[in-house]
């Protein structure tokens, strides 16, 4: 059996969207291995239903499948959320940046998967609230409030993890 007429279109989509979707999955799952697995599942499902999917809504459909696959993966406990390996840097700026990244990574790990999904869709994929609502199948108001709560929670976690500089200076003096 030869390739189906729409397969080239599918392959073009795969090539264009493979990495962005994997980034989104990583932002939710916190592990590249898990993200690759879930992204692969997503593309398999996209292949199965490709002729059915309206071309104007492929991205939305793909993100919905991806996010649901992430949630499902976490529910099944197939992948723990892992901290990725941190590059070994020695210069001070890089060390500070790495420390901040560690804090943020740790803080994100303490959010719920749904909060991480909202944040990823809003601030990684730069989707408007309405588009996030469509992907997550939530009312727009719920997305707004969930985003706001997730950001507030993230700020609190980051504040908790930051050292108190004044106190350190006094102790060292």
């Amino acid at each position: 059996m030869g390739a189906r007429p729409w397969e080239q279109e599918y392959c073009d989509y795969f090539t264009a969207r493979r990495r962005p979707l994997m980034r989104t999955a990583h932002a939710i799952l916190g592990s590249w291995t898990a993200a690759e697995d879930v992204t692969q599942q997503t593309f398999v499902q996209l292949y199965v239903y490709w002729p059915r999917i309206q071309r104007t809504s492929v991205d939305s459909y793909a993100r919905r499948v991806l996010v649901n696959a992430c949630f499902s993966s976490l529910r099944k406990g197939r992948h723990e959320v892992l901290a990725d390996e941190v590059p070994d840097r020695t210069d001070t700026d890089a060390a500070v940046a790495t420390e901040q990244r560690l804090d943020l990574t740790a803080a994100l790990r303490r959010l719920s998967a749904r909060d991480r999904a909202v944040l990823a869709l809003r601030f990684l994929d730069d989707l408007p609230v309405a588009a996030v609502a469509e992907v997550l199948e939530l009312p727009v108001g719920t997305v707004k409030s969930q985003t706001s709560r997730a950001l507030t929670r993230l700020e609190q976690l980051l504040a908790e993890s930051s050292p108190a500089p004044d106190l350190c200076e006094r102790n060292s003096g």
Partner: protein
């Protein structure tokens, strides 16, 4: 730096560390296998449905499109896809003959088309298919056909959404016995495809449409490249067999 900017930086830095990614050939292998598995059951059901075709046709003419579901036949060739089936209509959705009817109608008028890629139920609030098992709640049915390189077709039929206007100021409309026939040409901004739509809105609001999507830089080229004529599309939308029972609970 506020937390939103920190997040954006964090995500950007993460991307720089991305390694690997899904492999296209592996995805295609798994996707093709899943599709074959999914359709193989449909082929079996399609073969079984041949036995009740006469009854089903009578039911369609009588206004009911539901037949007793058939279990997929055992021993269907698992490698067979819809395009490979020699058994006529493929039963994409078990438990109903609407999908078979749509294929029969299309095959009788659009003889240049092969098997559809998919036939599925949908509803007013779903942009795409609803689960096959919920076909009794469908408010519309859609069949997607590959036509030629750069051309595809979608055949739809459905009940009007309450409160939604059927007016189409950009359509060319004409009254015909039983309803209003219209044609419309437009272009999808997202894909650049030219869209040739032929529709019949019956007096009760039920709509049947054939949409021919053609990829071409200009309208004249799209018209020249079309495989489906307005006359053939009109024959499909005016075919009385294009009907299905109203959604359950309506």
């Amino acid at each position: 730096m506020n937390v939103e900017d920190q997040l954006r930086d964090h995500y950007r830095d993460d991307a720089a560390e991305m390694l690997g990614g899904p492999d296209l050939s592996a995805v295609l292998d798994r996707g093709r296998r899943r599709r074959r598995t999914r359709v193989a059951g449909g082929v079996g059901a399609g073969l079984a449905a041949v036995a009740v075709a006469a009854v089903a046709t009578a039911s369609v003419l009588g206004g009911s499109t539901t037949t007793t579901g058939s279990d997929p036949a055992r021993g269907a060739d698992p490698a067979a896809g819809p395009a490979d089936s020699a058994a006529g209509a493929v039963d994409f959705v078990a438990g109903t003959d609407v999908d078979d009817t749509v294929q029969d109608v299309v095959a009788s008028h659009l003889t240049m088309l092969g098997a559809p890629d998919d036939v599925y139920p949908s509803d007013w609030s779903t942009n795409g298919p609803i689960p096959d098992a919920y076909f009794a709640a469908a408010t519309d049915w859609q069949a997607a056909y590959p036509v030629a390189d750069g051309e595809r077709a979608l055949v739809l039929m459905g009940y009007p959404k309450p409160g939604e206007s059927t007016d189409c100021p950009t359509c060319h409309e004409q009254s015909v016995p039983g309803g209003t026939l219209s044609t419309q040409v437009s272009r999808l901004q997202t894909t650049g495809e030219w869209l040739f739509m032929t529709s019949l809105v019956r007096d009760d609001g039920f709509r049947v449409s054939v949409i021919d999507y053609v990829t071409a830089p200009r309208l004249a080229q799209a018209r020249a490249a079309r495989s489906i004529s307005d006359a053939d599309a009109t024959a499909v939308v005016r075919d009385a067999r294009m009907h299905f029972a109203p959604p359950a609970g309506s």
